[in-house]
């Protein structure tokens, strides 16, 4: 799909005359539908159908549902998941929205640094963060608890990472960057004119912020909220690390059990249905609540953005920002770094505990790690390009309503979010692993699954970008005789350059850390770092695991930096 726009664009010169009369949108639409059917509909339909089938005979049955929901334990896991997702979404907003506002709209000091740390939080995979927090807040041995016990003489620590609250915090600190990115890019686009109007009419800073600025970016906040929620309930790694020892299950860990021997794909499919319904419900709600309001605030007419003077409050704001950064980055990274360079992390910070052996082991002795590192970045890079090209094309078709039923395209694009990665992987596995495609164990199946999995992120960014651009500019092109493709190439693409760079990184980074869809699709030659980390985490080999995690983070940082230099402006590290 990478080629859709590019391939058509060169034809534009030669066929310019005809293009003026022939709108190629129908062909585009058919092509897009075909790709989406392949990536999303086919595995999903297979999923739904198999939930009603007997395993061997394929006869229709409801037995899978009876089995999947017949146990109190399974119902409890569903409820746990809902609590977990809601908790993460709310907490992610509490972290993300104030930070976005402070950086985009106020004179808070050290903005560049805070931005950098938010970016840091974004590249730390949830399971790596979870391991950091196990080292920090393990009820007996966690560093924070040790410090607390040392200070107060208490016999027990006060934090317990092995709990629902623990899981929520751990995941929220890695997913608040979604809310942050959505909110701040929306804030960057809201012109001050409207705030000025409120001020002139007598509203104070706080009132203006709460009644004008934030409501204007509400779609972005809700978008971030929904993504945090859906991302959280689809996670597998962090719950496996924290929920199992805490002795509760969530849907993803429960789904894993259906894939133990004997594999019960049909029951798993039945069990995955509520998540699908929840997502559909959320999109319906979003539409219902926000759908009718107009939010086009970027027009070709300019408009300026001024920052709010916070006075002494700016230090408070910075304090809060640093608190969030500490939870998300400083503390976990500190302990992970210690573990990566430690002979035995439990022995603490001392010189005789320092070693490079963990890195040497990973880089030279482990038979798989070198390949896994290369695979991870190659697959993620390709995925990012594929997902963005596809989603941009779709977002354009949908926002400009070029074809009837365009919402179907939008829904298909967003649907993968609701399929937990594990289920997506099984859908892919069932649909494309056996002949005729026989993709099992190949890089192709991983990249396809990644592309599908991250399509919603790519689509949300692309759609937000396109929606924020008033069609009047393209209409101007068309009135002056340019075709739609000229408008896209000359007007839309330059305007979207930064959004696209952002979208690339928004897909690339989660792809480097993607675990749940990879875990059923990797073969020994296509292993990626996340799966290796997961396998290492089974036996709790935290020193080696931290070392591999460090390598992942360092390489991600470098590639992201190079990517942004190449594409254009840097992303979250720019100073506003």
């Amino acid at each position: 799909m990478t080629a859709t726009l590019d391939q058509i664009a060169p034809a534009e010169g030669a066929l310019a005359r005809r293009m003026r009369f022939f709108d190629p949108s129908m062909i585009l639409w058919i092509a897009l539908i075909a790709v989406l059917v392949f990536l999303i509909a086919s595995p999903m339909v297979r999923l739904v159908v198999s939930s009603f089938q007997e395993p061997e005979t394929h006869r229709l049955t409801l037995a899978n549902y009876a089995e999947a929901y017949g146990r109190a334990r399974h119902l409890q896991a569903l409820w746990n998941t809902f609590q977990f997702g809601a908790g993460v979404a709310v907490l992610a907003c509490l972290f993300g929205v104030p930070l976005a506002w402070a950086i985009s709209r106020t004179d808070m000091p050290a903005k560049g640094f805070v931005r950098l740390m938010v970016f840091g939080a974004f590249i730390i995979p949830p399971y790596l963060g979870a391991i950091g927090w196990i080292l920090l807040a393990g009820p007996n041995a966690g560093w924070l608890n040790k410090v607390w016990m040392g200070l107060t003489g208490a016999e027990h620590g006060i934090f317990n990472v092995y709990s629902m609250t623990g899981l929520i915090v751990v995941v929220a600190v890695t997913s608040f960057p979604y809310v942050f990115v959505f909110t701040s890019s929306a804030l960057d686009l809201v012109s001050t004119e409207m705030e000025d109007a409120a001020n002139i009419l007598g509203a104070g800073t706080l009132r203006t912020t709460l009644r004008v600025t934030l409501p204007l970016v509400l779609p972005a906040i809700v978008g971030g909220l929904i993504i945090s929620f859906l991302e959280a309930i689809a996670l597998f790694g962090a719950p496996a690390l924290i929920a199992l020892p805490a002795r509760f299950q969530v849907v993803s860990t429960q789904l894993w059990q259906f894939f133990e021997y004997p594999v019960r794909v049909e029951q798993a499919a039945a069990y995955a249905m509520p998540l699908l319904l929840i997502t559909i419900l959320m999109f319906w709600l979003q539409r219902r609540v926000l759908g009718r309001r107009g939010y086009t605030t970027v027009s070709g007419k300019g408009g300026e953005r001024r920052i709010t003077q916070l006075g002494p409050w700016r230090w408070m704001m910075l304090g809060y920002a640093l608190f969030v950064c500490a939870l998300a980055v400083f503390l976990p990274m500190l302990v992970l770094t210690q573990a990566a360079f430690a002979r035995a992390w439990g022995r603490g910070f001392s010189l005789d505990n320092l070693t490079l052996n963990n890195f040497r082991y990973i880089l030279f002795e482990q038979t798989q790690a070198q390949n896994a590192i290369i695979n991870t970045f190659v697959y993620s890079g390709i995925t990012a390009f594929a997902a963005i090209s596809l989603s941009l094309a779709i977002a354009y078709v949908v926002t400009r309503r070029l074809v009837p039923w365009s919402n179907v395209l939008a829904f298909l694009c967003m649907a993968p979010f609701v399929i937990p990665g594990i289920i997506l992987a099984i859908g892919f596995y069932a649909a494309y692993a056996p002949p005729p495609l026989a993709l099992y164990g190949t890089a192709t199946i991983l990249i396809l699954a990644y592309t599908t999995r991250f399509l919603p992120i790519a689509y949300t960014s692309s759609a937000a970008g396109i929606r924020s651009i008033n069609p009047e500019m393209e209409e101007a092109v068309r009135i002056l005789g340019g075709g739609r493709l000229t408008a896209i190439r000359r007007v839309l693409a330059p305007l979207l350059k930064r959004s696209l760079a952002g979208a690339w990184i928004l897909v690339f980074i989660p792809a480097t850390r993607e675990l749940s869809s990879a875990i059923f699709l990797v073969g020994p030659n296509t292993r990626v770092i996340s799966v290796m980390l997961f396998d290492l985490s089974e036996e709790g080999n935290f020193e080696v695991l931290s070392a591999l995690g460090m390598i992942l983070l360092a390489a991600t940082l470098v590639i992201a930096a190079i990517g942004f230099r190449a594409i254009g402006r840097d992303f979250m590290v720019r100073s506003s």
């Binding site: 035995a344 002795e365 089974e538």
Partner: protein
């Protein structure tokens, strides 16, 4: 195989890593003449054309698995060894997935749940191969499957581990029922039978000794349940928990060698001896490399590595390291194959009801 005068980088690294493991490999001459029979030479020639072998193993921790993989590569240059270490149930899950998809990735499958082999053999999904080296094993490991579909390639002990920084030897639990004492509330770490074949077999053994009631009571002590049996060692090292109810002897002793405060007690009612076979699934891509790897796993060199990492030796020629207990030194118990095959799925269910996960 001809002796090579210059050690490769991998060999040096393997040797160095071995030295780092508490001098464990000091016992292993880096360049002992390997015994390579004509049969193995023949396999080697065929295997070279295949170029690689993929080994799914739950037999040991990752360090040991990688050391074996690297040593195999050193012994048979030109064949790359992909050692993929996971828990037994995860390895089996991947294997069954590959079989369903008709795209075999694995060449040699080393689970710790004997039930897997029985099921595979029943469905005619294993390649018959009786390694030449299987006649040279320690007596108890011979003829595990008289039909030659799978062969014992490793063994290990499960006993009780404890953190010596937090617990004196005299205070440590001595026997399995001691774990039920309320004083161990919030202090015990366990693996999970739904992941680990070792833990599954351990649970079957203890259920046989004391009834499921034992686990009901154990649950009241609120143990921390991880996944792999090796995870309990991490929890002890961290000081998060101080007693490993299902303590893997090999991993714990290896970790103690690295300087972690760990020790084992061997219950008078019997340490659980795990006997774990390997087999070659039907339709693998590298059948000759797989056979060669099976031979390698039963070689003296492999046993030296096993012992260097505190697992059991497969060969009578290789003795355990000074101070390390092996199955010969303590009382061991072990369920029959039938008991494991039928018992593990059962205890996984009961475990989930009792422990909630």
């Amino acid at each position: 195989m001809a002796r090579r005068p210059i050690p490769s980088r991998r060999e040096i690294l393997t040797g160095a890593s071995a030295l780092a493991l508490g001098g464990a490999l000091g016992a292993r001459p880096a360049h002992a003449e390997r015994e390579v029979t004509p049969h193995q030479k023949e396999l080697y020639e065929l295997a070279k054309k295949e170029g690689e072998v993929t080994w799914y193993t739950a037999h040991s921790n990752d360090t040991t698995a990688q050391a074996l993989g690297r040593d195999f590569e050193a012994a048979f240059p030109g064949i790359e060894a992909n050692a993929v270490r996971t828990t037994a149930q995860v390895a089996y899950q991947r294997l069954t997935q590959e079989q369903k998809a008709g795209a075999m990735q694995v060449d040699v499958f080393s689970s710790t749940d004997i039930g897997h082999y029985v099921a595979l053999k029943e469905k005619n999904l294993l390649e018959k191969y009786l390694p030449e080296n299987s006649t040279k094993l320690i007596e108890v490991y011979k003829n595990y499957d008289p039909d030659g579909y799978y062969t014992v390639t490793s063994a290990g002990l499960i006993a009780i581990g404890y953190n010596t920084a937090k617990l004196k030897e005299a205070e440590a639990p001595k026997n399995w029922p001691d774990l039920l004492d309320p004083k161990w509330k919030d202090k015990i770490a366990l693996g999970h039978p739904g992941f680990s074949g070792y833990v599954g077999t351990w649970a079957v053994s203890l259920k046989k000794l004391y009834g499921w009631d034992f686990f009901e009571k154990l649950a009241k002590n609120n143990p921390q349940v991880g996944r792999s049996i090796n995870d309990t060692v991490t929890m002890l090292n961290a000081g998060e928990r101080i007693v490993a109810g299902s303590g893997p002897n090999g991993t714990a002793m290896e970790s103690a060698g690295k300087g972690n405060p760990l020790a084992m007690t061997y219950p008078p009612d019997g340490s659980v001896l795990i006997i774990a076979p390997s087999g070659i699934p039907k339709g693998v891509k590298h059948p000759n490399a797989a056979k060669l790897f099976m031979e390698y796993l039963l070689s003296i060199e492999a046993s030296k590595i096993w012992v260097g990492h505190f697992n059991e030796s497969m060969r009578p020629e290789v003795k355990s390291l000074n101070g390390a207990k092996s199955a010969a030194d303590v009382k061991t118990i072990r369920p029959t194959v039938d008991e494991i095959v039928n018992g593990i799925p059962e205890v996984i269910k009961q475990w989930r009801d009792t422990f909630g996960v």
